[in-house]
């Protein structure tokens, strides 16, 4: 520190010389970690909002294509619990009955379909490659139903931006099937698209 030769700065320095901050560094770092965590949470929330916005366009497209009214006879059977974490994807049944799905890779749609069925989601899982002609959205002439209210509880993003969605199985009308389309950008899933069909939806190919 500069040694002040002028008596006034020296007096000011001396007056404060015994003043020191007693807060332990661990306490500071603990608070800093909480602040950092809160900021990351906020950032991931913003990503989720962005993902929801990305999802809203295909969903509204699906809803616009379906002219049929919803027969909202929601299933009341409790969904079986599933907790699966693979390198490619995760499916978790939450305490409130919703099911969170995160897709990091998509090599075996049939395996994901089986796991979704165990979680109480009757689904067809399809892969759509962005930038190539697709039958997923035109769905082979079959018309998707309006998406029942509350079927999508949340739109999530996993680590490294892996797309995900939380579905409320209880909101799926009986006899209907979820069309779970994983939109691939190259080798990475970009977003997931959810449609509802009466019966079994057509197989998607691209």
């Amino acid at each position: 520190m500069t040694q002040h030769t002028d008596e006034v700065p020296a007096a000011v320095e001396r007056a404060f010389s015994a003043v020191d901050l007693a807060t332990p560094v661990d306490q500071i770092i603990g608070r800093g970690r909480r602040l950092r965590g809160r900021r990351r949470k906020l950032a991931s929330g913003l990503v989720a909002v962005a993902a929801a916005a990305a999802l809203a366009v295909p969903l509204s497209h699906a809803a616009a294509g379906g002219g049929q009214p919803t027969s909202a006879q929601a299933s009341t059977a409790p969904a079986p619990g599933v907790q699966v974490d693979l390198a490619a994807w995760s499916v978790h049944t939450n305490a409130n009955g919703t099911v969170s799905i995160t897709v990091r890779q998509m090599h075996d749609p049939a395996d994901l379909r089986k796991t979704l069925a165990k979680a109480g989601i009757p689904a067809v899982v399809a892969v759509d490659h962005l930038g190539t002609p697709s039958t997923c959205v035109s769905h082979g002439g079959q018309v998707p139903k309006d998406l029942p209210k509350g079927i999508i509880a949340a739109v999530n993003r996993g680590t490294a931006g892996a797309p995900g969605v939380t579905i409320r199985p209880a909101a799926i009308p009986k006899g209907d099937t979820v069309y779970f389309i994983v939109a691939m950008n190259g080798t990475r899933p970009s977003y997931v698209l959810i449609m509802i069909f009466k019966g079994t939806p057509p197989t998607c190919s691209s």
Binding site: V8, F16, D20, I28, L35
Partner: protein, 167 residues
């Protein structure tokens, strides 16, 4: 202890007293200054990758603490009154007080900007340019504020001659 934590801990050890003194001298309330500086350091930790590249991270901490003080003051100004936690002000000229109390009282009588300049230049030992950057004013203005502040402090401290002999 990872590298980041070690770097931050070293920084904290080196500058915690200076930052605390600078903020205390500006806001005049020891407990409040402690809260503000602790929060300033915590925010520095939360943004350490950015803050550690700052030319004067200690100035960043003090600026953050003073910004927090502005927010705090705006929120609580209706409820807050100066109390015995604040360093003394309004001493009568000629009163017999010890040197430290006289300095605190004299500082308190300065305009806020001059107090900030004294805090950063003298207590945090920042150079003129860094002080100017931290306060968002011109270097010439820093020099002028410091000159006036020292002149005022000298006059004010001269009114407490009996116990100022140690100065």
């Amino acid at each position: 202890v990872d590298q980041t934590t070690g770097d931050f801990a070293d920084f904290y050890r080196q500058y915690r007293a200076g930052c605390f003194r600078a903020v205390y001298a500006t806001v005049g309330d020891k407990l409040l200054a402690e809260e503000l500086v602790s929060e300033g350091f915590a925010r520095a930790w939360a943004s350490w990758r950015k803050v550690c590249r700052h030319p004067a991270p200690q100035a960043w901490v003090v600026r953050t603490a003073l910004n927090l003080h502005v927010s705090w003051w705006r929120r609580y100004r209706r409820e807050v009154a100066l109390n015995d936690r604040d360093f003394p002000g309004g001493l009568d000229a000629g009163a017999v007080v010890d040197g430290d109390t006289a300095v605190f009282a004299a500082l308190r009588a300065l305009p806020v900007r001059q107090r900030e300049v004294v805090a950063l230049r003298i207590l945090l030992d920042l150079d003129v340019d860094t002080t100017a950057d931290t306060l968002g004013i011109a270097p010439g203005t820093v020099k002028a504020h410091l000159h006036r502040a020292i002149a005022t402090l000298r006059t004010r401290l001269a009114t407490f001659p009996e116990k100022r002999t140690a100065v």
